[in-house]
């Protein structure tokens, strides 16, 4: 079996490369879907941990349709004031989060410090900034003091953390407006307000991505189809090409079971090599994507398992070919 693979090494190599490229795309698509699904939850965690958000009834979700209100409306509510608005840095869209960072752990930092003063900015590292960089919110200048990760929303929009006062200066002309308050407690609130759990916020943030997730999922299905067709075609064609070999080997005493098994194993080996190759290849290609590609470990099992099933199914078709090959065909 291995001798046959060696003999056809160029064709086998190209086949494995072709399968690996398609499987690499499968890995990346799986990583994208996973990222789309994980992103809102992670960003919510970075912004406010597991706390509940008390917001006005007019707010659909903090990151999708924030509706700031006068801070005085929430005077009777115990909690940490927070303001979330869309914004831009140098024309690039960001999601601005303004609050106090004194008593909270969020956001987790990968470098630098939390915002403490006017102009201090913490931004997700996908924004491409370094600590000390100057950033412009329109005409207002800020300086990057810290970096965080996994703080993006709506498929890659970086979340940017500033103090509440600085946020109000940038976004609402210095008015004392807030989106709501963060609290660890669950309590009843006045009718004009509502409580959103961290899960509610994440679920709402995911809604605008439904179309994108469906599209990527469809592409993933198509890639699966292509993968299965490639595997099946290659293994079956190999069986057809080797019909004469099988006839000769049967004529000299080989049996269908052993010959079929060798064909089956050959297909499986090629497929699994392609899976490993694709797994390695995606680690080089994924970082070049503008969006974080978070390949779940389950993708390895899904892709390897699915490809193996396709290889076995195609191999069985090949085995039936071996079975139907008469040794008399060796006489040509």
């Amino acid at each position: 079996m291995l001798r046959d693979l060696q003999y056809r090494r160029w064709r086998v190599g190209l086949t494995i490369l072709l399968m690996a490229i398609v499987m690499t795309l499968l890995f990346i698509m799986s990583g994208l879907v996973n990222q789309f699904n994980a992103e809102p939850g992670l960003a919510t965690q970075r912004a406010a941990g597991d706390q509940n958000w008390i917001v006005s009834q007019g707010t659909g979700g903090p990151f999708t349709s924030p509706r700031p209100v006068e801070a005085s409306i929430l005077d009777g509510i115990t909690g940490e004031p927070i303001l979330v608005t869309p914004g831009s840095i140098g024309g690039v869209r960001v999601s601005l989060v303004g609050r106090s960072y004194d008593n909270l752990d969020e956001p987790l930092l990968v470098a630098g410090d939390h915002p403490r003063a006017r102009g201090d900015v913490v931004i997700d590292e996908t924004g491409g900034y370094a600590i000390g960089d100057t950033v412009m919110f329109g005409q207002i200048q800020g300086r990057v003091v810290g970096l965080t990760d996994d703080a993006t929303v709506l498929a890659g929009v970086p979340v940017t953390f500033v103090t509440l006062e600085f946020h109000q200066e940038i976004a609402v002309g210095g008015q004392n407006l807030v989106l709501g308050k963060l609290t660890g407690e669950t309590r009843s609130v006045p009718p004009e307000l509502k409580v959103m759990t961290a899960d509610d916020v994440a679920a709402d943030t995911l809604l605008p991505l439904d179309g994108a997730i469906s599209s990527v999922t469809l592409v993933r299905v198509l890639l699966w189809l292509i993968t299965v067709i490639i595997i099946a075609a290659i293994i079956y064609i190999t069986a057809l090409e080797r019909t004469r070999d099988f006839a000769v080997l049967k004529a000299v005493g080989g049996n269908t079971r052993d010959l079929g098994l060798s064909l089956l194993i050959q297909g499986l080996v090629m497929t699994l090599i392609a899976v490993v190759f694709a797994g390695v290849l995606q680690t080089f290609i994924a970082p070049t994507f503008p969006l974080k590609v978070r390949v779940p470990s389950s993708a390895w099992f899904t892709i390897a398992g699915g490809a193996a099933v396709a290889a076995i199914a195609a191999g069985l078709a090949g085995v039936s070919r071996v079975k139907s090959t008469s040794p008399a065909e060796a006489f040509g």
Partner: protein, 325 residues
């Protein structure tokens, strides 16, 4: 001496393209141990069919085939695999070596498939490659070997199970005379060790070196000229499909149908001939059996012609209406 190979009244019939052909019809042959037997005949005369029967690869319609006392036509399962591994060796036309394997691995393949340990199988392969003077080519792939060398590797593979009978299909086909001579010399050497070797060939130059020649397609002498005309009434058969060809018929008056008979018992008129025309000319000229049945459609008068009479009568340049058979 007891026959190592005994074939009696063998009939092989199969259906192709809806009609039935019978490449072997009542074939009988016996060969004692240590004999080099040549099956001589043109393409389609049943040589390869006979080798396939001896290899237990295709079924026979009737008759008996025994090799070393084994009823070949009744073999199944492991008995069949054992027979192919131990009793017979096969050398295929065109060598049929596995391209991905070296000469040594090709020779060892039947043993490896039988579960013999790698080391033992390869040692046996080396021994046989030495016997066919290819010890120095053991590590070469088929593509790196000449045609003659590939054929000798194929012979070595056929011998790996130390079979009593070696079957070789056109062993000298596609070889230059030097390679062909070395293969023939090898087969003669193997025969001297008590092995029966049956080769199929259409090359009658090999005949002086073999012990028995089996003509697969006996010559059919031309029939004598006939003076009498043939008169048929509607529905009467002139000759039948698969029958031995004898005369070519000139249709003097009337009309005949040319009918193809199919394996499922049905038949169809494939052409009609009306005087003046000929019918049934290709069969006698090619010495083929009749490929169709000819039936009188209306009362018909025909004149039987030998090939010479036909050639003298017919005017090929005139595009005379002729049938395929």
């Amino acid at each position: 001496m007891i026959d190592l190979v005994a074939i009696d009244d063998l009939v092989v019939e199969y259906t192709t393209d809806r009609y039935t052909v019978r490449p072997l019809d009542g074939f009988t042959m016996h060969a004692p141990p240590g004999q080099l037997v040549a099956l001589l005949g043109p393409s389609g005369s049943g040589k390869t069919t006979l080798l396939s029967i001896l290899s237990a690869m295709i079924p026979a319609t009737s008759g008996s085939v025994h090799v070393n006392g084994i009823d070949v036509l009744g073999l199944k399962g492991t008995a069949l695999e054992d027979y192919r591994r131990k009793t017979i060796g096969i050398v295929f036309q065109g060598f049929n070596l596995i391209p991905s394997l070296t000469a040594r691995e090709n020779v060892a393949a039947p043993l490896l498939l039988a579960g013999v340990k790698n080391k033992i199988a390869l040692a046996r392969a080396d021994e046989l490659l030495d016997e066919v003077d290819l010890a120095d080519r053991a590590g070469h792939k088929p593509v790196q070997l000449s045609g003659g060398q590939q054929q000798r590797v194929a012979v070595a593979r056929g011998l790996v199970g130390d079979p009593l009978v070696l079957l070789a299909d056109e062993p000298t086909a596609n070889l230059d005379h030097i390679s062909a001579e070395s293969v023939v010399e090898l087969l003669r050497r193997l025969r001297e060790r008590g092995r029966t070797i049956i080769i199929s060939t259409h090359d009658d130059r090999l005949l002086p070196v073999v012990d028995q020649v089996v003509t697969m397609h006996p010559d059919h002498p031309s029939p004598p000229a006939m003076l009498d005309e043939v008169h048929l009434v509607p529905g009467e058969v002139l000759f039948r499909q698969s029958g031995q060809s004898d005369y070519i018929y000139q249709i003097l008056s009337g009309t005949v149908d040319i009918v193809r008979e199919y394996a499922d018992g049905t038949s169809a008129v494939i052409a009609t001939r009306t005087a003046p025309a000929f019918v049934g000319e290709l069969g006698p000229m090619l010495d083929f059996p009749r490929s169709a049945t000819v039936v009188a459609q209306r009362t018909v008068h025909l004149k039987p012609l030998t090939i010479d009479q036909y050639m003298a009568t017919a005017d090929p340049g005139a595009g005379a209406r002729t049938s395929q058979d």
